[in-house]
């Protein structure tokens, strides 16, 4: 039976009319948006908030990470630390000549060693019990510039004849010496009074120094009966050689059993610590999803209202020859354009907010492109889902009913 009409309807071999070109569809589909601007803005805002949240919660950690990486590369990406493996009952140490051995490795620019003297630390000699949280570390080599340490107060060890000590930042707080008094202060290290000459700023690349009191290598041997075996070694090297250097350093300090020493990069450890903080982003991403869902419901609601309001327009278009699919497509276009605009606005808003946040903290602004593209795609998907029911309803409205609507 259908065939009877086909010849007439398809006249002159043209395709079926009543279907719109993309340009026409965009024009017709945005008509409702253009004429109801406030409503468009408000329901677009719902989507924008969702996408802005997505962009923001992913850009802030990305920016913070980038800031940290920049900071780490500024400080300490060229730094390697060598620890003996601490096995069983035996507490291992490094060879006495470690510093010289390391200094002879080609790409190494500087080497320094640290040793735990195991001397007890007391704030004054009259205390019976030592402060177990504080360690007395002996330093050999120019370690402080290597770990980008800064003297917050006073000065660095200067090889005075009298025994002197510099405090790590936490140790200073523990001893109540964050600010050095004008008159000389001494603390008791291994039963010997050491004069405090300086306090270090925090040293994130060598956290164990923060809870230590630092004494000169020679002083430690002279006054504390220290045997001269380092417990940790540090080297700096050209950054491009760092990776190849790791096995070389292990073999240098422990030729027989390279596995007895561990070579690590302190900046990597800090980076990993920072990365682990991203776990809580999942929660915010979930919240962004909820925001997007609410926005989508808002869009669906707006479209339903729009279909209801424009029944007569739908009826007219059907009378003028709009196919059901064209009417459906018109409302779907409206949903998609609305959500696309909302998504773009949201992405821009989120990126701006992230930039502001990063700027305020002196971080580089990082807005992941995948998040922006993904966010806009998510907005479009929301529009597609939200648009289905209203579009179907509009397309199923019989023209006679639609025309009779008030």
């Amino acid at each position: 039976m259908r065939g009877q009409g086909e010849g007439l309807l398809r006249g002159r071999g043209r395709t079926r009319v009543g279907r719109l070109s993309v340009t026409d569809l965009l024009e017709v589909g945005t008509l409702g948006l253009r004429t109801r601007r406030l409503r468009t803005a408000l329901s677009g805002l719902g989507i924008a908030v969702g996408i802005a949240t997505v962009v923001l919660v992913t850009s802030i950690p990305a920016s913070s990470q980038a800031a940290l990486e920049r900071q780490l590369s500024d400080l300490g990406a060229d730094l390697l630390r060598i620890d003996p493996v601490q096995g069983g009952e035996e507490l291992r140490t490094l060879p006495q000549q470690s510093m010289g051995m390391l200094g002879r490795v080609g790409p190494v620019t500087r080497a320094a060693v640290v040793a735990n003297t195991h001397a007890e630390v007391r704030s004054n000699p009259h205390r019976l019990v030592a402060d177990g949280a504080l360690t007395a570390l002996a330093l050999d080599g120019d370690l402080l510039p290597m770990i980008r340490a800064r003297v917050a107060h006073g000065e660095m060890l200067d090889g005075d004849v009298a025994p002197t000590v510099v405090l790590g930042s936490s140790a200073a707080r523990r001893l109540g010496l964050e600010r050095l008094p004008a008159e000389p202060v001494t603390i008791d290290v291994g039963g010997v009074p050491f004069r405090v000459v300086g306090v270090l700023a925090p040293t994130p690349l060598a956290a164990d120094l923060q809870t230590a009191v630092l004494v000169d290598w020679g002083d430690a041997q002279r006054w504390l009966g220290f045997d001269g075996h380092p417990t940790v070694a540090y080297v700096t090297a050209r950054e491009d050689a760092i990776e190849q250097l790791r096995p070389v350093l292990a073999a240098t300090l422990s030729p027989q059993q390279p596995g007895r020493v561990v070579v690590s990069r302190p900046s990597d450890v800090l980076g990993a610590k920072a990365a682990s903080q991203e776990a809580f982003d999942g929660l915010f991403l979930g919240l962004a999803g909820v925001a997007l869902l609410v926005g989508g419901i808002g869009v669906a609601n707006t479209l339903f209202a729009s279909v209801l309001e424009r029944r007569r327009d739908i009826g007219l278009r059907r009378a003028l020859g709009a196919q059901r699919t064209s009417v459906g497509a018109q409302f779907m276009t409206e949903a998609l354009v609305l959500c696309l605009l909302g998504g773009l606005a949201g992405a821009a808003l989120g990126a701006l907010a992230a930039a502001w946040w990063a700027q305020a903290r002196g971080w580089p602004t990082v807005v992941p492109a995948t998040v922006v593209v993904g966010g806009v795609a998510a907005a479009l998907l929301t529009g597609a889902v939200a648009g289905i029911a209203p579009s179907v309803r509009a397309s199923r409205l019989p023209p006679t009913v639609a025309l009779a609507a008030d």
Binding site: V17, G18, T23, D24, R318, G321, Q323, S326, P398, T400
Partner: protein, 229 residues
């Protein structure tokens, strides 16, 4: 040549309303027919069937030789897009669009290429004497002018049949006079026009008057010899 042919057309709405009862009607090409009846007589239902907006419960409706009862919704839609023009009592213009854009909407679904729509819309506006109002929006136009824009929208695609549903129902006498004159002019130019109205005065001016009562044709009078185009 017959433009429209209704044969034993019945339209029933469940559960027990029979809006049209075995209606037979032929409209030849180039005719101007007024279908008159009071409210509830079945006028609107008849318009829907003639306009391919609905299909009958029984009987057949043929437009230009095509049996509409055999067609699916998309084919009926296609037919409306290409061959039918509608004029409604309430104009149904989009307030957001200019007169030209409103007329262009009438061509949008008729398969007229985009570049031709504007010129054809302007032509149609000229035909109804509203070329000078092309850029005006509906709220800047009088009721009569709005209806003439609607007429321009209906005739821009050169329909084989122009269906006018109470075209003067929302107009004052002077405006109505202009609109009727317009429809008569289109008829003189060869367009087949069917006007549905409860206005006896308007119906009396038509060359042919069909009276509908309780879903049946009660009289079919040609005032003058029918002009066949």
């Amino acid at each position: 040549m017959t433009t429209l042919e209704l044969d034993e057309v019945t339209k029933a709405f469940p559960p027990d309303v029979v809006a049209l009862d075995r209606v037979g009607l032929r409209v030849e090409r180039g005719e101007l027919v007024a279908i008159v009846g009071c409210s509830g007589s079945g006028k609107s239902t008849l318009l829907h069937l003639m306009g391919a907006l609905d299909t009958p419960t029984a009987g057949s409706v043929r437009l230009d030789g095509t049996d509409l009862t055999a067609l699916a919704d998309r084919d009926l839609t296609d037919l409306r897009a290409r061959r039918l023009g509608f004029v409604f009592q309430a104009f149904h213009l989009d307030d957001a669009l200019t007169a030209t854009q409103n007329v262009m909407t009438g061509l949008l679904y008729a398969g007229v290429p985009r570049r031709l729509r504007r010129s054809r819309a302007l032509e149609a506006l000229e035909r109804v004497g509203l070329a000078h109002r092309a850029r005006h929006r509906p709220q800047q136009l009088s009721g009569g002018e709005r209806q003439r824009v609607a007429i321009a929208r209906a005739v821009a695609k050169d329909p084989v049949l122009l269906l006018a549903d109470e075209p003067t129902g929302a107009l004052d006498t002077a405006s109505a006079e202009v609109v009727v004159g317009q429809l008569e002019q289109l008829h003189r130019d060869g367009t087949t026009v069917v006007i549905i109205t409860h206005d006896v005065e308007l119906a009396r001016r038509a060359p042919r008057r069909v009276e509908l009562r309780d879903g049946r044709v009660t009289s079919d009078v040609a005032a003058r010899p029918v002009v066949v185009g």
